[in-house]
Amino acid sequence: MTTSTVVRATPRVSRRAGRVRRSGPATPYLFLAPYGVLFVGFILLPAIYGLWISLHDYDYLLPHQPWVGLRNYTDLFKSGSRDGADFWRSIRATVIFTVFSVPLLVTIPLGIAMLLNRKFPGRTFFRAVFFTPYVLGVAVVGVLFRFLLDPTIGLLNFYLGKLGLPDQTPWTTQVPWAWVGLVGMTVWWTLGFNAIIYLAGLQEISPELYEAAEVDGATAWQKFRNVTLPGLRPVLLFVMTLTILASANMFGQSWLVTKGAPDNATRTAIFYISQVGLQQYRQGVAAAMSYVVAIILICVSLLMFRLFRQRDV
């Protein structure tokens, strides 16, 4: 399905000889070069340098960085070490957040995108409405929700109380409610982004397919099941992967709204890594933890690709 654009783009002139050469063997690489430079400079080299850092007792401000080999890694798996328990607890917090936020962030935006894909007056306005929160920075959203969700002086509990519902729910200071709060605010904040991606995907699906389905007497559900979903598969994979990675990198929300409360139960992996690396000036351990997180994320992403590929067969 995605190949249609490629076919259209193939130039007819390229076979004619004797004209100005439009492409040489280096052309694709030259086009890739700007991205390549950025990739190597800002991702590949720092990643390798990070690996080097993770093998040291590293504080970039001190004159000596003692070599410790793999100790920063092995300590993470040793019980009773300084960071082991806290690190795996932060991974657990990240997993909880990801498991609850990803399904919502994959499905709700799809529903919204389908609504926004219909023709109705004010459509552009509503598209903007759903996308607007995403424009806000995490600092703005964080402070906003800290006061909306506050257990004792928050707006949410105030109005719940007015409705005669429980008005003491600790949305920011106890689990599981803190997770409800964090996931809820993240969904509100970022669903617009996923919805836009879906919307672009929906517009790529040829209307003829829907017409054909209608001629065959397909119901709305059958059209969704057999036309929309297959048509969106590459977009779905993209959205899923992106959302999982973004959720696994969650930091600002719990940093601002819960401060990790209660008892660091909502302290996520990136939250903990930043504390170790930037507040305690232990960049070696922080780099090692980053690599463990990166390996976990790579595995999860590979799994995602495998799952989606198998369905293709």
């Binding site: 800002f42 300084r82 506050d150 257990p151 920011t172 200071t173 305690q280 997180v293």
Partner: protein, 444 residues
């Protein structure tokens, strides 16, 4: 920090995953190859005057409250009085300041002047972010006897002076006079002992007012715990700062007393960040152990009336959490000595205007100034001056805040009912002692 800040192609995601690690690497990039230039102001003037060419100085601090406005006012006054020096002030959250300043200093883009707490100075001195400024102290004729020992010692690291003491800031009892009236309490006589405190809480409770909200966070639950710890006769660390001792009987009594306020309904459960203080201003919370830096805000309130008093004595003796802001000079990469001299002059000027700075909601670091009429007559600040003999400061040891953070974790766990006070404090103290031993190896 933004959720989707990494633009991702399907093929590039592996690389982006690697960037999680790369981010740390980037943060660590910097000129570590440059030799340390641990040079402070050396000229004979060193702060007493400035006769050099026109310079512009950057001054970084964490005065995010009402005190920032005061700092700005004083900087403006300095700029108009001193045509050859122009100071630009930048305010950061304290936590951000200690991420930004070291990186900026290492890359040669650091500020020329900074302000820090005494528990940050040794860490930053050990990491060569700031330079010794003994000559500035000498020129200001600072005398040890004029300062609290912890304030004086707090500016020192390895026998060199890095910090020029600016102020002392501590905790006080902020109480809502309207709620006191409502409960039939004397709004001019806030409780000073444990019995009076509990009696006041009971009277408030009879009017359905939860009288003393306990915050599970550093601000201000963690500061309240430290005050109580000292009141019950305990201390945070052993005298040589090799062991955390907040899990002593004194610590357990202190935290248990706080948790009991919640259990007995004098405080709501699950108080959020700053909710204790906001509720005080909203006339929902009657008493709040709050920082002096809020004085200017509460005295300006028109919707309710807030009284300010010294902390009540809950334990067997006086004990008040406190800290001190000190001026520091960040290490500069260049050889622009006139900038260093100008910075020294600015610091001296600011110290000499300490009485003005006190108006931002601070106790002057200099004891003579703290006792002076000029200071005690400032609205709302007198109770804090009375407290000064009882103020305890964090120890000045490199990396100490890594250990103290564990204590804040314990307070959070206990106040939110996740662990009982004794076991929370014990676990945290054990971890902190390990941190202390790691740090003594690291910083030497």
């Amino acid at each position: 920090m933004n959720q989707f800040s990494v633009p991702l192609s399907r093929r590039g995601f592996l690389g982006a995953a690697g960037a999680v690690g790369g981010a740390m690497a980037l943060a660590a990039c910097g000129g570590q190859s440059k030799p340390p230039t641990a040079a402070g102001p050396t000229g004979s003037a060193a702060g007493s005057a400035y006769n050099g060419p026109k310079v512009t100085l950057a001054f970084w601090n964490g005065f995010t409250g009402a005190d920032g406005d005061y700092a700005k006012k004083m900087v403006n006054q300095f700029n108009s009085e001193t045509p050859n020096i122009h100071v630009n002030m930048n305010v950061f959250q304290w936590a951000d300041l200690f991420q930004k300043m070291p990186a900026a200093v290492t890359s040669g883009n650091g500020p020329d002047i900074g302000a820090m707490h005494i528990d940050d100075i040794p860490t930053q001195a050990a990491q060569r972010v700031i330079v010794p400024i003994d000559s500035v102290a000498n020129n200001l004729k600072l005398k040890e006897s004029d300062f609290a020992p912890a304030v004086w010692q707090g500016g020192m690291y390895k026998n060199a002076r890095y910090g020029i003491p600016l102020d002392v800031h501590c905790l006080g009892l902020f109480y809502n006079k309207d709620l006191f009236d409502k409960a039939g309490l004397d709004a001019e006589k806030p409780p000073t002992t444990k019995d009076e405190y509990m009696a006041a809480l009971d009277k408030l409770k009879s009017k359905n007012i939860q009288g003393s909200w306990v915050s599970p966070f550093q601000f201000t639950g963690g500061l309240m715990f430290q005050s109580l710890l000292w009141q019950f006769g305990g201390d945070l660390y052993s005298s040589d700062v090799t062991k955390a001792t907040w899990d002593s009987d004194a610590g357990v009594s202190a935290l248990t007393w706080m948790v009991d306020l919640v259990k007995q309904g004098y405080s709501p459960k699950n108080v959020g960040q700053d909710a204790d203080y906001i509720a005080l201003k909203n006339a929902k919370n009657a008493m709040n152990w709050q920082g002096i830096w809020q004085v200017n805000e509460v005295t300006k309130l028109t919707t309710t009336h807030i009284g300010i008093a010294a902390l009540p004595k809950i334990g067997t003796k006086g004990g008040v959490w406190g800290n001190s802001h000190q001026f520091v000079l960040p290490r500069s990469q260049g050889n622009d000595n006139s900038k260093v001299e100008a910075a020294a002059y600015f610091v001296s000027w600011f110290i000499k205007h300490g009485a003005d700075w006190a108006k931002s909601g601070k106790v002057p670091a200099d004891n003579n100034l703290a006792k002076s009429q000029a200071f005690t007559s400032i609205t709302g600040l007198k109770p804090f001056a009375d407290e000064v003999p009882d103020v305890h400061f964090p120890p000045s040891v490199a990396g100490i805040n890594d250990a103290t953070a564990k204590m804040y974790d314990a307070v959070n766990a206990a106040v939110l009912g996740k662990a009982d006070p004794a076991s929370a404090l014990h676990t945290a103290a054990k971890q902190a002692s390990q941190v202390l031993s790691d740090n003594s190896k690291k910083y030497g």
